[in-house]
Amino acid sequence: MSQRLVNWFKFASPASFYPLAGKMWPWFAALGTVLAAVGLWISFFVAPTDFQQGEGYRIIFIHVPASWMSMFIYCVMAFWAAIGITFNTRLSGMMSSALAPTGALFAFLSLWTGALWGKPMWGAWWVWDARLTSELILFFLYIGYIALTAAIDDPRRADKAGAIVALVGVVNVPIIYFSVKWWNTLHQGASVSMTKAPTMAATMLWGMLIMALAFWMYSIAIALYRVRAIILERERHTTWVAELPEMQR
């Protein structure tokens, strides 16, 4: 047991994670590209035209996966935050801050594609639907995390403060979602039901799942790539950085 713990903590040290991340990210990037190609092929050439929404519905092949990823990444950030607070590992804070911009990007894309889908379908760029509203708030939470960690100069302090924000946020996301949903049902008149066609074709589901997997692989790859930059920025003055092969030229 203790042996296994020691191994985990070995990988949790930036010095050994830096080369590991360097070896791993190209694989995830390649996998992501292949999945994206398959996903796009399904979304445009396999999935049939929707009899109600015409071709416009094809936006959901990125809209839904982007929303899923934005929520999932926040949970992963909270997971790293909890690890960081419990075990006081340096790497977990770096992982959280490497994930945050990507999560914010997916939240933004979800809002953007949601608006572009909503305009032809409901005739409005924006409706105060529970999902859209909570996605917007999730985007604000990401921005808050990024702004706070950027405003604190000492990286260790920034990590700890960010960890608290991430954990407080993850407790609040479901509360916010249900409160907005409730608020929405109370104001029935103003809202448009966003429920999709009752029977979702299997090809549509597959397309969304594969696109979600592609986004997932992309997120892992970009987070590993970014964490390498973060590790170098923070460990600038250590001997292991000075001894890296790419620093010898």
Binding site: L40, F44, F45, P48, T49, G54, E55, G56, R58, I59, I62, H63, A66, P101, T102, L105, F108, L109, W112, T113, L116, W117, K119, P120, Y218, I222, Y225, R226, R228, A229, L232, E233, R236, V241, A242, E246, M247, R249
Partner: protein, 60 residues
């Protein structure tokens, strides 16, 4: 196959602006993100190499 011709494909049954606006912005955003991170990593490495080279010079 859903599409008879390339122009039909780009028109997206009249929803071209919305569909390509979504897929295009997503693709652009992801590419920009990759570019920014590449730039960040390269900048850190460049700065570090300079620092280390300066250290070596002073030691010699």
């Amino acid at each position: 196959m859903n599409w008879g011709s390339a122009s039909e494909f780009f028109a997206m049954g009249g929803y071209g602006l919305y569909v390509w606006g979504s897929f295009g912005v997503t693709a652009a955003a992801l590419l920009i993100e990759v570019g920014l991170v590449r730039h960040r990593l390269a900048a850190v490495r460049r700065g570090l190499r300079r620092e280390l080279a300066a250290d070596r010079d002073t030691q010699d």
